[in-house]
């Protein structure tokens, strides 16, 4: 793949102020970290020159962990403590995980999200993912020679709120500042689109190890607009391995295998699958723990047959996405293939036939997501203005509220462009009712029981009124990460309640802070040092931004307003000389408050100027 050359003119920070930011593709099977260096997006390799980090974490009895290839090598030997594909469990309960019986883990059915019992204690998928992220963070900081300002973490477009929140928690647990959660197909489209100056309707077909996403984007004059997305957050290359595994059991009459043997055969199945990409047939051989030998021949014809239904399972969401976008296959200019599992010939054929055109394979399907994420991270960190492009993404699944009779009332429909907010009004149904419970769900089905429950909370303290007299306005706000927060307000009395929708089993800020502390090898001093450094960086950044704003739009302020801002800038500068993180934080917040209305005016002006420029262009043309 051609390296992504990014033009210099948009550079907004001097080179020495370059802020270290990375894009991380946290995959089910493999994870990668990339960054923009000298205007080129590059994947950062490990010390042995390998780009991929297998998403495998092994817990040892002494409380230490192994991550990546080292852990992967031990998965057949120590299957119970070696966690693979943890991403499939993110934000998921036991009942959500298909074929859980085939997995070698001891699941603990914690409310909402499963946990895994290991020799090092019970671990949540969030903690497992955090280990992977920590390894990537260490790799990046070592290779870039400094602390990261932040990271863009990619998630499958079809991830729901619980899965997104779990991912963000994992990043925070790994000590990463999340600049944005970015949808994987969108990240791929950025890398592909910028590299090829693509214009028109493109489909990104992303089949990884455990997830499938399909997104339809319109690329036009620097705008990447997601028109629709669909997918299956529990479908990927793993399932193809599993089909081979079942076929092997059938052929050999084996059953009731130990965890070790299961893992061994699944590994052999995966190798066979990858072999069949390059050869018409392959031998699957293994010696089981009881000495029994397995030796069967798998042809690509049989492989295609036993996986036909899986291939078709990717086409149904593809059809739905096209329909939601109001498009036909004839409108599609190109189909970008992403994810290791798209290498399978039957996938290539099926996609080619469905769209009536050869899919685009001119990118490395393993790396393109991380490269796109890094490009976006570079913009979000403020290294580059990013004026040249704009990403308009959508929410993949509808959000709603439970109403009478266990039915769902949709508040925000799927494929709405984010950020998005919508309000719905409800009323009390009993005389004197003083509380109202609010149940937030996500999904397309009509019944609450068929959708994912995201949060339940109560609005209390409504003054007693006749039934139907109270007017409760429930507002949903989805931010640019695709994360939801909900607030409710009774209009007559002003009683209010709000939640950041965190799945009830999500980690609270306190819990994360505790875990962070516990994982910190060196005690308190380090924490304060780190916190001081963070506050200094933040404070410096705010000062810099306000100074730039004053230089640019200072005339929007009168002398008194300007005086006040300058006073608080000076105060912040003083605290930056000292070493009290809290003092810096307070001074920065005070400065923030003082610039609030200034920021509003600047935003207005920028909108007006954008439209004015637009009209001029029209007159000229």
């Amino acid at each position: 793949m051609a390296l992504l050359q990014i033009a210099e003119p948009g550079l907004s920070a001097a080179p020495h102020q370059h802020r270290l930011a990375v894009g991380i593709d946290l995959g089910t099977t493999n994870s990668l970290v990339a960054t923009v260096r000298s205007s080129i997006s590059v994947v950062l390799n490990d010390e042995d020159g390998r780009a991929l980090l297998p998403s495998v974490v092994r817990y040892l009895a002494d409380g230490t962990t192994e991550v990546g290839y080292a852990a992967q090598a031990m998965q057949s030997v120590d299957p119970h403590n070696t966690v693979v594909s943890a991403k499939r469990f993110m934000g998921r309960g036991v009942s959500d995980i298909a074929a859980i019986v085939n997995l070698p883990y001891q699941f603990v059915d914690a409310p909402g999200m499963v946990q895994l019992k290991t020799v090092a204690g019970v671990k949540s998928p969030v903690e497992v993912s955090a280990e992977i992220l920590k390894a990537l963070r260490a790799r990046a900081e070592k290779s870039l020679g400094g602390e990261l300002v932040g990271a863009v973490i990619t998630v499958p477009a079809y991830f729901d709120d619980a899965q997104r929140q779990a991912t963000k928690d994992a990043a925070r647990l790994a000590g990463l500042n999340v600049l944005r959660l970015l949808n994987e197909p969108t990240a791929a489209a950025v890398a592909y689109g910028l590299d090829n100056a693509a214009e028109g309707i493109y489909v990104v077909y992303d089949l990884g190890g455990g997830t499938f996403d399909v997104s339809i984007l319109r690329l036009s004059r620097g705008v990447f607009e997601v028109m629709a997305t669909n997918g299956d957050s529990a479908l990927g290359g793993d399932d193809f391995d599993h089909r081979i595994y079942c076929w092997v059991l059938e052929q050999t009459g084996l059953f009731a295998l130990s965890a070790q043997d299961t893992r061994l055969l699944l590994t052999r199945a995966r190798e066979a699958k990858e072999e069949l990409t390059f050869h018409p047939e392959t031998r699957i051989t293994a010696v089981l723990s009881n000495g029994q030998a397995v030796d069967v021949l798998l042809t690509s014809k049989i492989f295609s047959e036993i996986t036909l239904s899986l291939v078709n399972k990717t086409l149904a969401p593809t059809r739905k996405a096209l329909r939601d976008a109001n498009l036909g296959v004839e409108d599609v200019k190109g189909v970008v293939m992403v994810g290791g599992a798209t290498r399978m010939p039957q996938i290539q054929r099926a996609v080619g036939e469905f769209f009536g055109q050869e899919p685009l394979n001119n990118l490395d399907p393993d790396k393109v997501v991380a490269l796109g994420a890094a490009i976006q991270a570079n913009v979000l960190a403020g290294n580059r203005s990013g004026d040249e492009w704009l990403l308009l993404d959508v929410i993949p699944l509808s959000l709603g509220l439970e109403t009478m009779g266990g039915l769902v009332e949709k508040v925000i429909t799927r494929n709405s462009t984010i950020p998005v907010a919508r309000a719905q009004e409800f009323t009390t149904y009993k005389d004197g009712q003083t509380a109202m419970s609010i149940h937030v769900v996500q999904g397309e089905r009509e019944l609450v029981s068929d959708c994912r429950s995201l949060a339940k909370f109560e609005l209390r303290g409504i003054p007693p009124m006749a039934a139907g007299a109270a007017r409760v306005r429930v507002t949903f706000q989805v931010d640019a990460d695709g994360l939801l927060s909900v607030s409710a307000r009774e209009k007559n009395s002003g009683v209010e309640a709000s939640v950041m929708v965190k799945p009830s089993y999500g980690l609270s800020d306190g819990e994360i802070a505790d875990m962070l502390k516990a994982s910190q090898q060196h005690a308190h001093d380090d924490m304060t040092a780190r916190s001081l450094r963070e506050q200094q960086v933040d404070g410096g950044r705010i000062l810099e931004a306000v100074a730039a704003a004053l230089a640019e739009d200072g005339e929007l302020l009168n002398d008194a307003e300007r005086g006040k801002i300058e006073e608080r800038m000076a105060a912040l500068r003083v605290t930056l000389e000292g070493n009290a993180p809290q003092a810096i934080k307070n001074a920065a917040e005070a400065l923030n408050r003082a610039t609030e209305s200034f920021a509003g005016r600047r935003m207005n002006r920028s909108v007006q100027q954008a439209l004015a420029g637009h009209k001029l262009e029209e007159l000229e043309s």
């Binding site: 944005r180 704009l390 950020p419 706000q477 920021a599 005016r601 935003m603 920028s606 954008a610």
Partner: protein, 181 residues
Amino acid sequence: MSNMAMFSLEKNHFALFGLAPAYRLDLTQLEQSYRDIQAQVHPDKHAHLGEVERRLAMQWSTHANEAYQTLRQPLARARYLLQLNGAESDENSNTAMSPAFLMEQMEWREAIGDAKAAEALADLEHLAGRLRAEIRQREEKLQQALDVERDFAAAAEQVRELKFMEKLREEIHFALEALEN
């Protein structure tokens, strides 16, 4: 937030995009203005700034999305115009439809029901085509009422009826989807 910011966020949607308030709209210009605004206010453009800027960006960007979606869709646009003119479409409270319209509705429902029962894909697609034409015709009338005659009562009635037509469209859509799966 400053008064100025309040003012702009509360501008009517047409003014926000620099358009005259009318049902007939230059959709290309609407889209261009929308993109120009998002290029300024989108959270991605403010991610490296302070909390204040990030919050403002989210508010602004959310608002631009809302305004754009309202103006882009004909029915939502008509409803919004009625509201601007102090005439609500009363879709939930006013359910008095003309007998002729109700009759037509029954016929549509029957035809859709039959096609669904017979799993007749071609029939459903034909119905979808007819419905599209019918909706287009009604939108013409709506435009007359809103932009030319400024007869808001007639427009409100048309909006109420169009909402029923919308429901039919959805029903055909779901039936087609079910058949294809």
